[in-house]
């Protein structure tokens, strides 16, 4: 009887399932996609009236398959009109199929790489200046709003306009553009020369030998070198009564015409107009220094609510400063960028002031993706373009930037959040600091302290050990007990600590000031810098451990 009951149930169940199944079996034979969006290729192909020629280029250059598979790209896709104009101008042909020689194909490959970014960048991320990611030729594309008229009028590299923006696909974004972008080939001096607005300055570059210096794109190690040039246009010179190179030489270096000599005033003047890195205006520090090619000198940068002030005199009364002329600034070249200043940029001697140095990578490397490891043995760009700041021993150690809203760590406005520099145990790691004005400083360091897996460091300053050892295993509550918040600041200082920054907070609103792990360790209170120059700041391991470090502070001491 029991079996019978079972049979009844099973039979009933079968019948039930039979009915259920019969309900929805009509999807048989369909193909399923994880998304109903098309790939970049699919989207371009579905708009042949606009993009058929660029698709042909992609096929010819063998990027077709890449844009059809998984990935995240931003594609600046020139319209058919743009491609037609471009190949007509360059090779005097009217269809892509006529391009068959190896040289032509190679050039087209560069063009495609130049038009492609390795991440999604929607129009809402465009700024006045460079786009944050390097493209596949290792260059920064720029966006500019100086033409007015909103997003539809944005210029890419100051030569193409958006035809259609933010076309979303499942492996990236497409922005249609109305001209083919010219891949950067020339160095900054040549680009300036061709633009023709800075003829006196370009002549001075030649006379002082810097034309060649600034034209280097790869150094002897094959690493990209970059320059930022701040130049006076002919118009600005004219406002100062300078109408020729001879006038300029006469004003700056009237008694010495050996312009190639590094001590010559004109030579120094020109060297002061350049920095060895990428500084679009947005990259200038909010309040800090940019080291110049002229040794031991720096341009002072201060961003107020409204503007970027370069070399503001700090007298308190009738202060003057230099600004950039937006329309003639943020202009890109293969190895850098140039700006036009609104008055004569003479060598400026800044006073010592508080500086915070967020353990960074050089701007030329671009914004790193947070949490990703970078290093010589990692496949990730942009390491392969070479960075020289920091240097690590043993070479080959990996580096990453963590952005953690759970930590009240310091981040620059560009970081848009709390960043920490992070790496595994090494023997030493060192940075070039920005130029520090001469004076006496207190040096403080901060990182995520209070864990036994952390290292102990000896700080070296230009090769010499300075100050006390920084034991990262200790946080403030290890040193001062659980009532560390009640310890007065003088006692704390005497033990070598200052509480964390008041204006940095976790996502939950807890400030570094109130976090035991984020106190600042005083390395030394009397670091004398007799000369204005950049220094080498090295952390050398005494006891090894994982290294999550945040920043160094230089506080002037009277």
């Amino acid at each position: 009887m029991k079996t019978n009951k079972l049979i009844t149930w099973i039979g009933g169940l079968c019948a039930f399932m039979f009915i259920l199944n019969s309900c929805n079996d009509n999807l048989d034979g369909s193909t399923f996609f994880t998304s109903d969006e098309m790939t970049i290729i699919g989207t371009l192909e579905s708009n042949p009236e606009k993009f058929s020629m660029y698709v042909e280029i992609l096929e010819k250059t063998e990027f077709y398959t890449a844009f059809q598979s998984y990935g995240t790209y931003t594609c600046f896709a020139p319209t058919n009109l743009a491609v037609k104009e471009f190949i007509q101008e360059k090779w005097n042909v009217s269809s892509v199929s006529e391009l068959t020689t190896e040289d032509q194909i190679e050039f087209l490959k560069i063009v495609v790489k130049f038009h492609t970014l390795p991440a999604k960048r929607a129009a809402s991320a465009f700024v006045e200046g460079r786009i944050n990611e390097l493209n596949y030729t290792g260059d920064y594309l720029t966006t500019s709003f100086v033409g007015g008229g909103g997003i539809a009028n944005v210029e890419i590299n100051r030569e193409a306009k958006l035809d259609q923006y933010d076309i979303d696909t499942n492996n990236g974004l497409i922005h249609g553009i109305d001209r083919v972008l010219s891949p950067f080939i020339d160095a900054v001096p040549k680009v300036m020369e061709d633009a023709g607005e800075h003829t006196i300055f370009v002549e001075a570059l030649k006379q002082t030998g810097y034309y060649d210096t600034f034209s280097v794109i790869y150094n002897e190690d094959g690493i990209r070198t970059n320059f930022t040039i701040l130049a006076e246009s002919d118009e600005i010179y004219a406002e100062n009564g300078i109408n020729s190179f001879a006038d300029l030489a006469n004003v700056i270096s009237p008694d010495n015409s050996d312009y190639l000599d590094e001590n010559n005033e004109l030579n120094r003047f020109i060297a002061y107009h350049a920095a060895r890195d990428f500084y679009y205006s947005a990259d200038f520090p909010v309040d800090g220094f940019v080291s110049t090619v002229l040794p031991k000198n720096a341009i002072k940068s201060l961003k107020t609510d409204k503007e970027l002030k370069i070399n503001e005199t700090e007298e308190g009364i009738d202060d003057t400063w230099t600004s950039l002329l937006a329309e003639h600034s943020n202009l890109p070249a293969k190895n850098g960028v140039y700006h036009t200043v609104n008055k004569l940029l003479t060598v400026f001697t800044p006073k010592p002031k508080y500086q915070i140095f967020d353990f960074p990578l050089t701007p030329a490397v671009g914004q790193l993706q947070y949490g990703k490891w970078y290093g010589p043995n990692e496949s990730n760009e942009p390491y392969s373009f070479g960075y020289t700041n920091p240097r690590v021993f043993p070479a080959g150690e990996r580096i990453r930037i963590l952005r953690q809203s759970s930590n009240p760590s310091y981040g620059t406005p560009q970081d848009n959040g709390n960043t920490v520099f992070n790496m595994g145990a090494v023997t030493w790691v060192e940075w070039d600091t920005p130029v520090l004005p001469k004076g006496k400083y207190e040096v403080r360091v901060c990182g995520n302290q209070g864990n036994n897996g952390r290292p102990i460091f000896q700080v070296y300053w230009d090769g010499q050990p300075i100050g006390s050892q920084w034991d990262m295993r200790d946080n403030l509550s290890d040193v001062f007990g659980s009532n560390w918040k009640d310890v007065d600041s003088l006692t704390m200082r005497q033990a070598g600590y200052v509480r964390g920054l008041k204006d940095r907070a976790t996502g939950a609103g807890v400030t570094a000031y109130d976090s035991s792990n984020w106190g600042r360790f005083i390395v030394t209170s009397d670091l004398l810098c007799p000369e204005q120059q950049s220094h080498v700041f090295r952390l050398e391991i005494i006891k090894s451990g994982g290294i999550p470090i945040d920043y160094v502070e230089f506080v002037p001491v009277n």
Binding site: N4, K5, I7, T8, G11, G12, A15, F16, I19, L20, A123, S124, F126, V127, E128, G129, S144, F145, V146, G147, G148, G149, G150, I151, A152, N153, V154, Q164, Y165, D166, S281, A282, K303, T304, D305, K306, E307, L308, A326
Partner: protein, 487 residues
Amino acid sequence: MKLNIIKIFAIVPLLVASLSSCSSYLDLEPQDNLIQKEFWQNKEQVASAVAGCYASMNQSGFTDRVLKWGELRAEMLVSVRAGSSEQNMMKNFVTPTNSLVNWSAFYATINYCNLVLEFTDQAQAKDLSFTEEEAATFKAEALAIRSLVYFILVKNFKEVPLVLTATASNQVDFYPAKNTEEEIIDQIVSDLNVAVEDLNIGYSESAAYDKGRITKGGALSILADVYLWSEQYNECINTTQEIIDSGRYSLVDGSEWFNSIFFEGNSSEGVFELQFDDLNKTLQSSFYIGSPTYAPFGGLKEIYIEFLDDVRADKATYDEELNSVFKFAGIDETGLYRGNDEFYNTFIFYRYAEVLLMQAEAYIFSTENQNLNKAAELIGLVHERATGIPLDVSLDKASLSNALLLERQKEFAFESKRWYDLLRFARRNNFEEQYLILNLVDIKAGPDDYEQILSFYSDQESYFLPIYQNEIDLNKNLVQNPYYENN
């Protein structure tokens, strides 16, 4: 055994019967709800449908947008923790995919109004206790609400589809095209003129009832505002005069300015204030002192500084110490704040001070009836109430219009008026005063984004919002507003 087989076979048809009944059981009418054909039978149902029109407005999807559209593109607020859609709108960078431009909540209200307009007569015919006058009043309320909503849409999008029939059957046009600004304004004006005839002068039940429902004064205020927007100044003067002559409204005393108008709400000055059964989520999430989304812009204090005793300044409109919006979040001049669950604010659409200032504006800009003395007098009423000092302004058109714009800025700070004030002033004579909007760039831009923000504000077409991309995708007859075409 046989019995069991029978059992099995008995189960099968049972299951088949119960499951295959799918289609017929879809025919069942809902048990817990009324359907269209059973509704619209009596006065009570019409009354609740009209209440539904109001209720559809006090959704945050509606009031949030009223606040953000009216303020973010202007300068009065800065972000503390606004989302990226809001921050983009604050730079006048608005794309069709920004969900802030989704107008569906507004068309939902329009549809509720259209239903009332379409079916009230039918209900009135069936219900003997339902008089024609009562029916006319209900319809007038619906007309006025619909006009208010269309006016908000036209100020923001310039051209929108004018849908005047209810979506109650499949006979309606589901793919309406845009109408011109003029067509919409004409419709609003004629609707409001009809509504004014039939609306009640007021309600004696309670202040909340009186201010919370649209009365004759409410409809006239909307109408006056529409006349001002469409530069029909003589009509604006007459319309505002009707409100003034009704004698139903008065400016509250200066000492009561904050408490009576904003803290308590439904003051003698209120003309139409949306009421909330529950919390006013829009004002709560924007201004609650514990985690405000917005703060006043840095220059706000400056605009009140000229008159030391301005009752609208510190601990009234804003809190200088905490740099917060006090108008909606504060309790009294001691600096107490509303708790997170104390945002029982009304949402003020019109109050008497605005009626006076609308008339002043019309007197300044009217050609036939220009009366600068009268304008100065009207601005002076609002000015002196707040500052205790008579308005001192030279009686020329330019000075008066500057004084008026400033007085409106001070009086209606954060009340979702500022952007429309700037736009209305800027666009006269083919954007003769565009600088009023371009000046915003100096306030909004930082060292790195001046060119960008200037660019976003440079095109006059950009002062109107794009149509939400979803709407464009669903309705082949909708054409995107010119500035936002992207193809």
